[in-house]
């Protein structure tokens, strides 16, 4: 039973090195946060960073980061290894792509991978991903009919070879995007972030006297796998299905999933989901998988670190459809449907684990991309701006839902004072939306209301990426649905949920974000909780 002293020392050494490796990727992510240009990275944390073994298996990831990036990046590294080839890899290299099917699902996300060499031995890879402010084409929006309209495509290639930046690539990018300095600046930030990770890893290996990460990787993977298998073993076995309707671009879209729990594996199948859309709301399967795995992990193994071994036990399958769109389908706003995948999967899991799973929520972020410019004949500024905003989260069994909080995405909102410094708009309102939560024993989280107007002498158009307008978040176990969202002008003109649209001079855009669904029979909500909702003004209507 009692191991030898050598075993005991090895055990402790391995644990300590695992911690150290996590610290290395945290430093890597922090560098990206601090050098990035796009507000989505620097204010909102829309990024990911991780370290991989020479086979491309993720060893550790930074806690900072959003599931759509982390879990897609975990797959992306394999594509880089296959396409660049070991023979062409040199110390000081950095590889890049924004291929939606090999990266993270749309052209706006730039993924960079750098090999890490100790001497001339390849010991691992660092990868990171960030959303840049522009990639040319139609701009960030759902209006493209194919990926070719959505911007410049960068196939997997070298951004830097042996430390020398590929200036031809930089020139091509500069010529193709609306904000060349910010975009190229972000390319440099991504490369710098991998450099920092690499330097710290090599320092760590030299200090400890490691020549490879093989033993450490084996330790991390075996521990993680065993712990995840324990959790899967505790689940009921069988198959459970769920369906969900979303707004789509111009007609509703049906999503379907079956979660099958077997011995030592969980699979999610998306057969029954609607076909590929004509519009840019399609999802490459790499992104569908990222959010399906995220939902499963939240319920099954929330405390187990995200790495190759924990992700490996969750698989997905799907025929070609809106959740498995193939090239050249348009995919620019794949996150809207992608962010609804957790509610879809959690609905199936709720049947397997009654009483354990939260109600549906707002789901997709209400991102708005604003393109502002001076009115004709006036002086002023042009600017591209992106705001992330969140509606209400679904009620939890035992707890009200969180108001105006991103789920499943992990991003933050930007301060409106920073947004107004970035470009010529005025945000007149950004506050909670009373009476938007679904009632229940535990009520959903509240949505929010946002009002935006162009600054004096300016006008703007915006790309709508909104959902849950026609299809509100559903309650669970007798809980009521949340209030649906709406997008309109201050004169009552209704705007479309997706696509680029103009706001006339002098008008404000008004967004009402959805509230989360309730959980449990509203009749059983405590009198104290109801009284509190009234005092706070979360609920104002009579009879509720």
């Amino acid at each position: 039973m009692t191991p030898t002293p050598q075993d005991a020392t090895r055990e402790i050494r391995m644990q300590v090195m695992w911690n150290r490796l996590i610290s290395v990727v945290e430093e890597q992510a922090l560098t990206l946060l601090r050098t990035a240009f796009s507000t989505s990275v620097r204010e909102a944390g829309d990024l990911s960073a991780g370290v991989f073994d020479p086979q491309g298996r993720m060893l550790a990831q930074a806690v900072t980061g959003t599931p759509g990036h982390v879990n897609t990046m975990a797959e992306a590294v394999l594509h880089f290894i296959a396409e660049i080839g070991r023979d062409r890899m040199l110390p000081g290299d950095t590889y890049v792509t924004n291929d939606p099917w090999k990266g993270t699902g749309h052209l706006h996300d730039i993924t960079m991978v750098s090999p890490s060499f100790l001497g001339d031995r390849l010991v691992g890879f660092f990868a990171c991903t960030a959303h840049v402010v522009d990639v040319g084409g139609r701009g960030f929006g759902a209006d493209g009919k194919s990926v070719y309209e959505e911007g410049i495509q960068i196939p997997i290639m070298k951004f830097a070879e042996a430390g020398r930046v590929n200036h031809d690539l930089v020139q091509i990018i500069r010529a193709n995007v609306r904000e060349p300095n910010q975009v190229v600046g972000d390319f440099y930030s991504l490369a710098a972030c991998n450099d920092v990770g690499h330097r710290r890893l090599i320092e760590m290996m030299q200090e400890i006297g490691l020549s490879s990460l093989d033993d450490l990787g084996e330790f991390i993977f075996s521990r993680t796998r065993a712990a995840t298998l324990d959790r899967i073993a505790a689940l009921p076995k069988g198959a459970w299905s769920n369906e969900l309707l979303t707004d789509g671009y111009d007609q509703p879209v049906r999503l379907a999933a079956t979660v099958e729990i077997a011995d030592g594996a969980v699979n999610v199948d998306f057969t029954g989901s609607d076909p590929v859309s004509r519009w840019g709301i399609n999802v490459p399967i790499i992104y569908t998988k990222a959010y399906a795995c995220y939902a499963l992990k939240c319920v099954v193994a929330p405390d187990i670190p995200n790495n190759w071994a924990s992700l490996d036990l969750f698989t997905i399958s799907s025929p070609v459809n809106i959740l498995n769109a193939e090239r050249p389908a348009p995919v620019s706003v794949r996150h809207v449907i992608g962010h609804l995948v957790p509610d879809l999967v959690l609905g199936a899991l709720a049947k397997a684990l009654p009483g354990k799973v939260l109600a549906e929520g707002s789901g997709a972020l209400w991102n708005i991309h604003i393109s502002a410019r001076p009115q004709t004949g006036q002086d002023g500024r042009r600017a591209e701006m992106l705001m992330f905003n969140s509606g209400g989260m679904g009620a939890r069994p035992g707890l009200d839902g969180l108001s105006a909080t991103a789920f499943p995405s992990g991003v933050m909102t930007m301060p409106i004072e920073a947004t107004e410094q970035t470009g010529p708009v005025v945000v007149w309102r950004k506050e909670l939306r009373p009476d938007s939560a679904g009632d229940g024993e535990y009520r959903g989280g509240l949505g929010q209301v946002i009002e935006i107007e162009a600054a004096a002498g300016h006008q703007f158009e915006f790309s709508a990426m909104f959902d849950r307008i026609g299809h509100p978040p559903r309650g669970r176990n007798g809980g009521a649905d949340g209030k649906p969202g709406s997008a309109m002008l201050d004169d009552g003109t209704v705007m479309r949920p997706k696509g680029w649209q103009q706001v006339p001079v002098g008008r404000r855009l008004v967004l009402n974000l959805p509230g989360g669904g309730g959980y449990g029979d509203p009749a059983t909500r405590s009198a104290a909780a109801r009284a509190n909702d009234r005092i706070r003004g979360y609920i104002t209507e009579d009879g509720k």
Binding site: R34, R223, G410, T413
Partner: protein, 694 residues
């Protein structure tokens, strides 16, 4: 020093008093009394005055720092506060960043806002991003709000309007209107925290208002009681940025007192660094529940513009409330002597942030603690003497420690008590090392270039191993380390940092406007410093700059003189140099990539005569150890016979070769096998890495 100066630090458990009486130091620790915090100070003062044989009237200055403001925020024991804010932004302090600080916990709960929604009032009136008025202030509506606040019996009012850091006119006018009808203190965000980012600024002004009545009462009581005991000298407060401010200023801006105790610790370390002429130092303060790490360059602790207090979820970043004020920048992690060790689902040892505290305390205290704490692991490894802990005041039970470590860690991993205890110490040491490395990198520094200064009860037990992990060759353990913060107060300058957010692109640099801004900040900062000194004042001017489009600014030190249009090239060059130092390389070849200044800071402090410089003694005589006991040595991975030496028995120049344990009343300094330790002239211990074989 020739004067008679007294420092008083109210901490969570103890109130520490340090008296510098014409160069002689006296100190004591008294239990903190929450009901009447000033009583502990008076009791402590009585002790040190008696020890020094002087009367209260001989005190020349009392310098005070307190955790009371922090505790009021953590425990939510402040005044009922009304927040008046811009229409459309009622929920800024409740919506926070709209994110979850832990991605996978579906049962997460966010911290409750300091001011509940029913107590937040909105009013029309809007300032734009450039400081221009977009909509006039609705004064009639403010009159009604004032009536309501007066009728409802609020204890404090906070006012926070959008973009008030660019133009405070609306906030100032609103204060006039409210003050005419309401008799309680009013705080406005453009004075408390004139920095961009509405959530941080509004939360900071609410925190200030929330603790203000309580702190003002306390400070008034303290002054009365001191006068009654015969201490007629002035009282100054230490603030979170590490300088001194008047009691009047502290009563108006009590949020500036948050984290003043840890600030004292950093000043203590900075003073030790200056005495020994060490220009790059990392201070390491480990107490019962947390460890704090701070970088000190050229005898000045680094400062930051924002920090987070009252974290509610496993010390997790984002789970507390942001406070935007100048603060000594330090990293704090949940790693102290009382931190609990446990095993997670992967069979990994974890430590903290949960702490056994003083009740029940670690298992070895024999006060009912069942779960293993860091102190239990230290005891099992032989670092502590069970018969002689805290001068023999507490008898430690090795059996209890072994039982707890085996039950909660050893048996789950198939390890005996010693390897399990080694594992616990390795994990906590590694966590601290990682925090220190990341903190250094965040500041563009290399941790191994520094010398460590360790203080706080648990730090000397772990410092040597931490130095091994960080590649640090020297570590100082000064005397009086148990009351380090209170001693630090005695060394604190009269100092104040004034900040203002103003976005200035270098392409649009207007020297006149810029000079006016800097002069305004100088006047503000020096005004506070003049309250305490008539002597010369030192200034440091810093611009926080970035490439246009970035969100993180890096500090760039500017010359203290009037600026001209020709200075743009200098500003550009300084920024690029600093940028390269932080991030490896400046960004080249981007036509028209602009640089901007976002925030300006002026730090002012009185000029101090440098303390007498002490030469470092490396010692040559190896002392014979009178006693020895087996202690586990982490570098060698085995238990070694280890010299046990009483600190009081070491004369200046005495050198003891590791492995050794230097014991004293409050704690013990563990010297691991790669180090020797040498007694310095002033009673400081210095660990020095042994020469590697040539």
């Amino acid at each position: 020093m020739t004067g008679v100066r007294l420092g008083a630090d109210i901490g969570g458990t103890f109130t520490d008093i340090a008296l510098d009486c014409r160069g002689q130091l006296y100190s004591t620790k008294v239990l903190t009394s929450y009901a009447a915090p000033e009583q502990a100070i008076l009791d402590g003062i009585a002790v040190v005055l008696r020890d020094a044989g002087i009367t209260p009237a001989e005190l020349e200055i009392v310098i005070h720092g307190t955790t009371l403001a922090t505790n009021a925020l953590i425990e939510r024991r402040g005044a009922r506060t009304a927040l008046i804010t811009t229409e459309g932004f009622r929920d800024v302090i409740e919506m926070r960043t709209e994110s979850r600080f832990e991605q996978y916990d579906l049962n997460l709960q966010l911290p409750t806002p300091l001011v509940p929604r029913e107590d937040r009032f909105t009013v029309k009136g809007r300032i734009g991003a450039q400081g221009q008025e977009l909509q006039p202030l609705d004064e009639a509506a403010l009159e009604e709000i004032a009536d309501h606040i007066a009728a409802e019996g609020f204890g404090a009012v906070a006012i926070g309007f959008i973009h008030s850091y660019m133009n405070p006119a609306h906030e100032q006018r609103a204060r006039e209107i409210i003050a005419a009808k309401v008799g309680v203190p009013i705080s406005i965000s453009s004075e408390v925290s004139p920095q961009m980012r509405e959530f941080e600024r509004f939360n900071t002004v609410c925190a200030n208002a929330y603790v203000r009545p309580q702190m003002a009462d306390y400070l008034a009581r303290l002054q009365v009681r001191l006068k009654e005991m015969g201490a007629t000298c002035p009282v100054f407060m230490i603030h979170s940025g590490g300088g001194l401010i008047s009691v009047e200023t502290a009563a108006e801006f009590p949020v500036r007192l948050v984290e003043s105790g840890p600030a004292g610790g950093a000043i203590f370390a900075a003073d030790v660094a200056q005495r020994f002429g060490l220009d790059r130092v990392v201070s390491y303060d480990m107490g019962g529940t947390t460890a704090k790490i701070c970088l000190i360059e050229d005898y000045q602790p680094r400062t930051a513009r924002t920090f987070e207090v009252a974290r509610t979820y496993r010390f997790c970043k984002g789970s507390g409330m942001p406070i935007s004020i100048p603060v000594i920048e330090m990293i704090e992690i949940g790693a102290g002597g009382g931190s609990i060790a446990w095993v997670d689902a992967m069979g990994r040892i974890q430590t903290g942030p949960e702490s056994a505290g003083s009740e029940p305390g670690p298992a070895c205290y024999q006060r009912g603690g069942e779960r293993p704490a860091i102190t239990d692991a230290d005891l099992i490894l032989g670092k502590l003497d069970p018969e002689n802990f805290a001068g023999g005041a507490i008898r430690l039970s090795v059996d209890n420690a072994r039982g707890a470590v085996l039950r909660e860690v050893g048996e789950r991993l198939g390890l005996d008590a010693e390897p399990a205890a080694f594992g616990i110490c390795e994990v906590v040491d590694e966590n601290m090392a990682n925090a220190a490395r990341v903190h250094a990198v965040e500041n563009g520094k290399n941790i191994s270039d520094n010398i460590m200064i360790a203080f706080g009860g648990a730090a000397p037990l772990h410092a040597a191993r931490l130095c091994e992990k960080l590649g640090i060759d020297r570590c100082l353990i000064p005397p009086g380390a148990g009351v380090g913060s209170a001693i630090g107060f005695l060394r604190a300058p009269f100092g104040y940092e004034a900040l203002a957010s103003k976005v200035v692109r270098l392409s649009e640099f207007d020297a006149d406007v810029f000079n006016e801004l800097v002069d305004g900040l100088k006047t503000t900062a020096e005004g506070f410093v003049r309250a305490g000194t008539q002597g010369a004042i030192l200034r440091e001017i810093t611009a926080f700059m970035r490439y246009v489009g970035q969100g993180w600014e890096i500090p760039v030190t500017l010359p203290d003189r009037a600026f001209t249009a020709g200075d743009v090239a200098m500003l550009q060059g300084s920024f690029r140099d600093n940028y390269a130092r932080f991030f490896g390389r400046a960004i080249d070849g981007l036509d028209g990539l602009e640089i901007e200044i976002v925030t300006l800071s002026v730090k002012a402090q009185d000029e101090r005569t440098a303390p007498e410089r002490l030469a470092i003694t490396t010692g040559t005589t190896l002392a014979d150890a009178p006693a020895s006991r087996p202690v586990f040595d982490p570098a060698r991975g085995e238990t070694l016979p280890t010299a046990i030496v009483d600190r009081a028995d070491m004369a200046h120049g005495t050198r003891v070769s590791g492995p050794a344990v230097i014991v004293e009343r409050e704690t013990a300094t563990v010297v691991t096998s790669p180090f020797d330790v040498v007694m310095q002239a002033d009673g400081t211990l210095m660990m020095i890495r042994k020469e590697t074989a040539a």
